[in-house]
Amino acid sequence: MSLLSLDHKAVARRYLWSGLGFLLLGGLLALAIRWQWAWPGRSVPGLAWALPESHGALTPPTYTAVFTMHGLVMIFFAVTPLLFGALGHFVLPLAIGARGLAFPRLSALGYWVYALGGVLMLASFAVRLGPASAGWTAYPPLSTSAFTPGLGQTLVTVAVLCAGTSAFTYGLNFVVTVARCRAPGMTWGRLPLTVWGLFFASVLNVVFVPVLAAATVLLLMDRLLGTQFFIAGAAAVGGGGDPVVYQHLFWLFGHPEVYILILPAWGMVGDLVAFFSRKPAHGYRLTAGAMGTVSALSGLVYAHHLFTSGMSPLLGRTFMVLTLLISLPAEVMFLNWLMTLWRGSVRLTSPMLAALATMVVFGLGGITGLALGAVATDVPLHGTLWVVGHFHLTMGAASFLGLFAGLYFWFPKMFGRALHEGLAKVHVLSSAVLFLGVFGGQLAAGYAGQLRRLYDPYQYTYLKHLLPLNQWTTVCAFLLGAAQVVFVVNLVWTLRRGRAAEANPWQVGTLEWTCASSPPGEGNFTQVPVVLRGPHALSQPEVLEQLGRDWIGQAEVLPGVAREGAGEEALATVSTVRSVT
């Protein structure tokens, strides 16, 4: 598979390696931030080569660049590309029985646009005045050239535009692929929940990434062409513009982005708890519907990020109600996961452990967001580490653990080799516990009033007593970083020496495991499967009786039932599809 291959599996692999590289970079930047909060101004171990003048210690300008780049790298270059670029590209066509994505060239192009953005991100570290430093939200006027003059801020803004372009292309590609390229018999009601999650998130990408692009382009024009869309105050000449418009545009994208980052993980959790409870997902339609409802509401809640911006009371009240409303479908979904476990036969495999860990961190992250959705309780917590802990639990820890649930689950399919189960479990469990330590510590510090993005929080008398807490949190963060070595060892060892994976190691019925080889060849399937049933046909009595196993492929004909209506309908349609391909 060359670098020019248009095959969705090859593109997925490119995203996987690039995404993991950026995940490492983003993680190291996070550790630098944590170090600063525990031992402010002290030399960061191993950073002296990069910061010779300060002997490796973060200075205030370096620190602002570090937290800005941490956010941007993680969101745009690590988590999204890993969930969509790697897992989405790989799984989606296989799971719906398609031979590839609807637009293979677009998907390859999307990767290269993302890669260009990645190069710009890395290059920005080398230019004078360093990379971007106006925060990942890049609020103007701070992010305009009057206040952040370096080339780095411009490069990074263009890089975000590249990542957005790539996200838009795969969003569009996934939507069209799911809508048009499903195998015969793969009705909407038979889609794995993973596909539902990816589909809704892709719709959000298509709708809201252009909003980010608009805001970013206007910001670039303010930086480079002398326009004043978002400039007001002393830096404005003549009339000027309005910085608040940028905030609205940014969060109109930014809040759906949170759901973009978590929806694929939700879908995977939904599938994995069913697979490893050996029973059909409880309330499949309710769960898919809940994900759809969250997606529909996601663009209508964003202004809770602006509760303290002086917005009109009418807007504030409206967004408070809408924000609280979104917790209802989330609860339905969560309860369905719990009900799926109940009366099942639970198997604690590494993907299942990761799925359960995702539920835990996502649950806590969701719960801690409630107080931020109501205006009054948001006031003391706004802009504190409580917010940081909350959203890192949901879109950081939950997305990360969801990603690894998917990676551990599909790795044998991607590479044909089986990862070491024991190491995988150690990695998942230690990561989950340490995530709770890190972000739990941040919630506590934020509750006590510690504000975000402070180079030295202890400038404030009222925060001085938080130093020991922050040191403990930092220790957890470094241990969390160290725990990732377990994954790297497992990955490298498996790719070199790992034993060949069995055909269907998890004993589930979805198409990628029952109709394609590991790894799947060109075109995925020797024959396009004809789908007969939903994704979670587990522990069905007639299957147990006739086949002696608790699973059956989505396209597997059960002897004696084949002549029933559903199967024949599907068989009738397959001939027309074949003649087209």
Binding site: T64, S133, A134, G135, L142, F147, A232, G233, A235, G240, D242, P243, K279, P280, A281, H282, G283, Y284, L286, T308, S309, G310, P313, G316, M320, L324, L328, E331, V332, L335, W342, S345, V346, L356, V360, G363, I367, T368, L370, A374, V375, A376, T377, V379, P380, G383, A445, Y447, A448, G449, L451, R453, Y455, P457, Q459, T461, Y462, L466, L538, S539
Partner: protein, 269 residues
Amino acid sequence: MSTSVEEKSQPSSDTPTSTSTSARTLALPEDASVDGHRIDALLGWSHRFEAGMAALALGWMVVAVWRFRGSKRAASDGGTKRSRAWVLGLALSTFLVVDGALLVGSEGYLRDVLWNLDVPAKDPRTVRIEINAHQWSWEARYAGEDGRFNTPDDVVTWNDLRVPAGVPVWVQLVSTDVVHGFSLPNFRVKLDAIPGRVNQTWFRAAREGAWEVACYQHCGTSHYRMRGELRALSAEAYAAWLREAGRQAVQAYDVDDSAAHWGWEWKAP
């Protein structure tokens, strides 16, 4: 507990002191405002709900995994009509209780305090302050004894807010350069300072003492040093300070220093 101003005639000898021996890590900053306790109480309720929901969800998960791990048989259905109705019912009732309580509690505070500028507007004792945020300091303007802004007796301070305890303090806020965040952690006050617009809020200090002003929006390299002090004084001490500072301001007034005349006509709520 904050040390109160011991020598009321000499507030300048006082230092901000939220560092109290009783400072607990897992607590909100000490509340020194008249109205903030309502937020704190609501947050207290919200934590009870959070704890309840977390215990329910995690407990259920642990019990389910414990009880059904490796079971010989698994149910073959994706739930019954009844079980799905239970899910919907449980979700809906949790939502109504938890989100309903937060909404109602929050709305009460918004109506009575946060968005009710009638209180400072109607109280004759109200102190009005215009605050201009800069990279990286808080410049505050008091109208002086004539009660009008942008006149020679305006008192202007840097990173040094003084207010009388017990009376409404009405703040109008702008920024000269970038977006800043004006927060008084001990008074449950947060409001963005945005170039090109005047935002406003109000609060009441419950008692005399000294606290901190903090910037909560990333505003550049020295964001972390954008720290001010707020002293709540007795009504007499405050009046004495304003009188003396106004007298000095009149003496130092420079008609030609247009940059110093950034005040504005007080805006209606």
